[in-house]
Amino acid sequence: MNRDDITRKLADFILTDILNRPDYPLTEDEPLITGGLIDSHSLVRIAVFAEQETGVSIPDTDLTVKNMDTLRLIVDRIMAER
């Protein structure tokens, strides 16, 4: 999976499984937590999904708003570990 594949998979998971809104125009730089779109519990679900899909495990101490507030930050983090 390349970067675009991972981005697409995560975006799809967020829109369908978390937001339950497939049509929402999510952008890569949109703040997810501080933008009030998803809560911190959902961030953990995203991390668990990402681990399942990519094999990259993000330690729980790194699941912070600062590190994970946008789709781009999450994908950056995954790419850096691969």
Partner: protein, 569 residues
């Protein structure tokens, strides 16, 4: 036997702990799980030594008995030692929500300033970075700011030096703040007697044993976290294993493994947390896990959903989790904590009733499980000792068995009043009965909670006032100030309530404008209140229902949402 421990014979919360210290100072009191996973074991004697130094330092700084001391710290031994130190010194502790890992120092500073000024607190125990920025400002309000670390220097001295002060039992032991912005927050004053009674009644209801081990992540600023998660064990002599709520949210499997390692028998969490554990733990991470030691996993702080309990059971039964451990209960800060507990050793009963009759006739007519129109309501159990429950109609008259009305209570664990708000205290009681604001019915000695008279939203165990959300939303430019309504709707997928916000724009708006307005509303509500909105609706035509005199009633709008919007999705 821990269950027979005569906690309620004492006059002060301090006495049972001091007796433990005198008997067995080396006994393990607490195990604190740090965020990095390491564990710190604390004996009764060590906790006492730290609490004693803090008490001496507070007394040395001029703390008077009855002074309020706010503890704004994190999950740590400092917090627990600080709590007992304040009690030793005769002060009234009040725990502020835990400072997050990435705190907004300025915003939290503002909240603390407002809390100190509203409560009249005499001291604030906090982290050094907050002390430095707040000390000067709060001094003008007569509040000293100290970091507990700075108070631990003289911990070598003996217990006899502590300025211990035993109380009459009726004196206030703890100030529990309910959630909400300053105007809506209420300070619940709890006496030593009320808390001691609460802990004893709860220990009896759980049939507490010497072999019990508490494993708890609920924060100590929450009633269940403080009284079930900490005080129950410290006062009765069973060990407690504590972890931070931030750790739990980010890594829910860490709680399950803590239960496994410590052979935990008792734990509590809100309904939504069961759901979080189901969805946010990978099966690969559970190999070898054994939850067989757990005898009570208590659902606390928000309505129990049958589906969530079932999902949890199906997910974790293969790891030894027992169906009989699914415990429920009903409680609130004004009653110290628990009002009811479901019977130990068996799963909480489920009552299937006709949904329509519940709504329109306010009667819980039994129905066949699974029938169309039948809904399951999970029992919250029966009253703990020293607790009377009456279901009352709007005029305060008791309703018959299975009749739905307001849950009113008269108990030995009730609060002494709202701090500095005698007006609110007077409104909360009718002829000596506390009006909970929750709707429910009694059937076969079990209490079933089935709604709320008040507009409060309860999300993931946090109480949220819709007024706060509406005020923020109305201040967002373009949202048609005043024409907004917020309410909570149970969402089985999340295991909690989702928050719905509706704004009547009463004008045409294209999709791009709506998306940008929705983003702004979500961002502002999160920024101001830390609350994540579930659904936002921006209506071009008038949607919000009002009464004939123009008042927006949240209940009516919630009904309209359920029948018009939710049905269609």
């Amino acid at each position: 036997m821990a269950g027979q421990y005569p906690v309620a014979d004492h006059h002060s919360l301090v006495e049972p702990l001091l007796e433990r210290i005198a008997r067995r100072p080396d006994e393990l009191a607490l195990t604190l799980i740090e965020d990095n996973g390491s564990e710190q074991k604390v004996s009764v004697g060590e906790l006492n030594a730290r609490a004693a130094s803090i008490a001496r330092a507070l007394a040395g700084e001029g703390l008077e008995p009855g002074d309020i001391v706010i503890l704004a710290l994190r999950h740590s031994l400092d917090l627990i030692a600080g709590l007992w130190g304040v009690l030793y010194a005769g002060g009234i502790p009040s725990i502020f929500p835990y400072l997050p890992p990435e705190p907004n120092v300025e915003k939290i500073g503002q909240q603390l300033r407002m809390l100190v000024s509203g409560s009249g607190a005499g001291a604030l125990l906090t982290l050094p970075e907050f002390r430095d920025s707040l000390a000067e400002d709060l001094a003008s309000l007569g509040c000293r700011v100290t970091a507990p670390q700075a108070m631990l220097r003289d911990s070598g001295r003996s217990l006899s030096d502590i300025p211990l002060r035993f109380t009459s039992g009726e004196e206030i032991a703890y100030l529990q703040y309910t959630s909400g912005t300053t105007g809506l927050q209420k300070g619940v004053l709890l006496s030593h007697r009320a808390i001691l009674h609460c802990v004893q009644a709860y220990a009896r209801a759980l049939d507490l044993k010497d072999t019990d081990v508490v494993v708890n992540w609920l924060p100590l600023y929450h009633d269940y976290g403080l009284f079930a998660g900490l005080m129950l064990s410290l006062l009765t002599g069973i060990p407690a294993v504590l972890m931070s709520p931030f750790k739990w949210v980010r890594n829910p499997k860490s709680l399950l493994w803590a239960i496994h390692r410590h052979r935990g028998t008792l734990s509590w969490m809100p309904n939504s947390a069961y759901s979080h554990a189901v969805h946010s733990v990978r099966t690969e991470d559970l190999a070898g896990l054994d939850l067989g030691s757990l005898r009570c996993l208590g659902s606390a702080a928000e309505p129990v959903m049958r589906r969530t309990q079932q999902d949890f059971l199906e997910r974790f039964a293969p790891f030894g989790f027992r169906e009989t451990a699914l415990m429920t209960g009903y409680g609130m800060a004004e009653n110290s904590m628990a009002i009811t507990v479901s019977p130990v050793g068996r799963r909480a009963p489920i009552d299937w009733v006709e949904a329509r009759a519940l709504q329109t006739e306010r009667f819980a007519r039994p129905a066949t499980p699974g029938d169309p129109g039948a809904i399951p309501i999970v029992s919250c159990g029966s009253a703990v000792e020293g607790t009377d429950i009456v279901i009352a109609d709007d005029r305060g008259r008791p309703v018959p068995e299975r009749g739905v009305g307001e849950i009113t209570i008269r108990t030995a664990s009730l609060f002494s009043g709202y701090h500095r708000r005698p007006d609110l205290t007077a409104l909360a009681f009718r002829d000596g009965w506390f009006l909970t604001g929750d709707l429910g019915y009694l059937a076969g000695g079990q209490l079933y909670v089935c709604g709320r008279k008040k507009d409060l939203i309860i999300q993931a165990g946090h109480n949220i006032h819709p007024e706060d959300i509406e005020a923020v939303a109305a201040s967002v430019p373009g949202s048609a100030s005043g024409q907004v309504v917020a309410f909570g709707v149970p969402d089985e997928r999340l295991g909690t309530e989702k928050i719905v916000l509706v704004c009547d724009l009463r004008r045409r708006a294209d999709e791009a404008e709506k998306v940008s307005l929705e983003r702004e509303l979500r961002r502002r509500v999160f920024e101001e209140l830390g609350v994540t909105l579930g659904e936002v609706y921006l209506m071009e035509k008038t949607w919000i229902v009002k009464t004939h005199n123009g008042k927006i009633t949240r209940g009516a709008n919630r009904q309209k949402y359920v029948s018009e919007i939710q049905k269609g999705t």
